[in-house]
């Protein structure tokens, strides 16, 4: 049940990412709903779940983007791995930690996406433009992350309180 709910959430996030999210563009950047979902899952369900959902969500993003299949998934994984150290070394995480982790994950994701695209021969933006876009996206995602993690937590409690198998 939890997996089905998670998969449905990620598919919805990936579709919304490529259809609705660009409408909310500010400073050239728009929210990355899949990244927010993956960071939320990592903080609530742990690293291994975060890694698996980063892979699934990234592959869904790859299906809506130009170029090969894999770069978005690859770019999401290191951010989740970094958060695992954060979780391990923190007694009581608060909204600020979660927001900062979303910003750091966004920067890592952006850098790795550009690097991977370059590696497989895809066009990449100039360094200055790329840095500006990554910074704007990091701020955007950090601001939305507290809402994102609240949604993930509510969904988790909904799934837990749902009908249990006999």
């Amino acid at each position: 049940m939890r997996r089905v709910a998670g998969a449905a959430l990620l598919v919805a996030a990936a579709l919304a990412q490529s259809t609705w999210a660009p409408r909310f563009e500010v400073g050239g950047a728009f929210p990355n709903l899949v990244l927010l979902g993956v960071v939320g899952v990592t903080w609530t369900l742990g690293t291994r779940s975060g890694l698996v959902w980063a892979c699934v969500g990234g592959l869904l993003l790859d299906l809506t983007a130009s170029g090969p299949i894999g770069p978005h998934a690859l770019a999401l994984l290191p951010g989740v791995y970094l958060i695992s150290f954060w979780i391990r070394n923190l007694e009581h995480p608060n909204a600020l930690h979660v927001a900062v982790s979303a910003a750091v994950t966004t920067v890592l994701y952006s850098a790795l996406l550009v690097l991977t695209d370059n590696l497989v021969g895809m066009p990449v933006p100039p360094l200055g433009v790329g840095a500006q876009l990554a910074f704007a996206a990091a701020v955007y995602n950090a601001l939305l992350m507290p809402i994102g993690i609240e949604l993930v937590r509510r969904l988790q409690s909904l799934v837990r309180s749902g009908p249990q198998p006999a």
């Binding site: 579709l15 950047a29 299906l63 809506t64 090969p68 894999g70 989740v80 991977t116 066009p123 933006p125």
Partner: protein, 272 residues
């Protein structure tokens, strides 16, 4: 002890998934995998189309209050009509100039129009780095990678990838896009490149002639990448550089990618 083992298991999973995704990216980038990749991407196209329609319906429902909906529709219709008229004026002026010297060489059929396929925009690139759009027409409709994409207002971009029922268009807003153009009044040549907010143009110097605000930039056809005569944008500002062989200009693009819902794919022109 237990935490250390869990972290080690996570590290193993992380490394395995990274290696798998890198391998998948390299394999799916190969030319022989293009068909399978296109088919996989087309699979999501119906869902994206449905989401886009749903978004449009939500827009309509929320704009029921007041006359926002009708005003917006009027505004859109008038803007489209205005853009079309402006394009026609620019193209007619440019064509008239050319006709004087090139009339005999012109092939009427080539100059009069192209074969086109209309397509609906069903999605946009999921990240801010690539300015792409997904459309609901693919190889099954005659759309091929490299084909030029336009709107009623002017040039939009080029088809980058095509699957059976969907294709991905790289717009002129993509930082990597390049188009050779000429200016409608001064006839100066230059290259337009994409940017996050506006299009930039490198204008080649000619003795005694300089670019000015309000001029229209049209595709020059130089290099064979795009057909000649498509409107790209209007010169918004020019920075003269005495020490250089070129000036820098900013163009107001005739297309607003955020508001485009339908595009035209030109099927009888492929870049040389």
């Amino acid at each position: 002890m237990h935490g250390g083992r869990a972290q080690s298991r996570s590290t193993g999973l992380f490394l395995f998934l990274c290696a798998a995704m890198l391998l998948l990216a390299m394999v799916s980038q190969q030319s022989w995998a293009a068909g399978a990749r296109g088919a996989a991407k087309s699979a999501l196209a119906p869902a994206e189309g449905a989401m886009t329609s749903l978004g449009a319906q939500v827009d309509r429902v929320t704009s029921v209050f007041g006359d926002v909906s009708s005003l917006r529709a009027d505004n859109q219709r008038l803007r489209a009509a205005d853009e079309q008229l402006r394009r026609q004026i620019v193209e007619l002026n440019a064509a008239a100039k050319e006709n004087a010297s090139l009339k005999q060489a012109l092939n009427f059929q080539k100059a009069s129009g192209h074969r086109m396929v209309a397509a609906q925009v069903i999605g946009r690139g999921p990240d801010s780095f690539s300015r792409t759009m997904q459309i609901d027409r693919g190889t099954g409709d005659g759309v091929q990678p490299g084909m030029v994409v336009a709107t009623g207002a002017g040039l939009l971009g080029r088809v980058r990838e095509a699957g059976p029922h969907a294709a991905i268009v790289q717009t002129l807003g993509d930082p990597q896009s390049r188009v050779n153009v000429y200016l409608s009044k001064s006839n100066l040549q230059g290259t337009v490149s994409g940017g996050t907010t506006s299009l930039g143009m490198e204008v080649q110097h000619t003795l005694g002639v300089s670019a000015s605000n309000g001029e229209w930039a049209l595709t020059s056809g130089v290099g064979g990448g795009y057909p000649r005569g498509f409107v790209v944008g209007e010169v918004a500002s020019v920075t003269h550089r005495d020490a250089s062989t070129s000036d820098e200009a900013q163009l107001a693009w005739v297309n607003d990618p955020q508001s485009i819902t339908f595009v035209l794919v030109i099927t009888d022109f492929l870049p040389s």
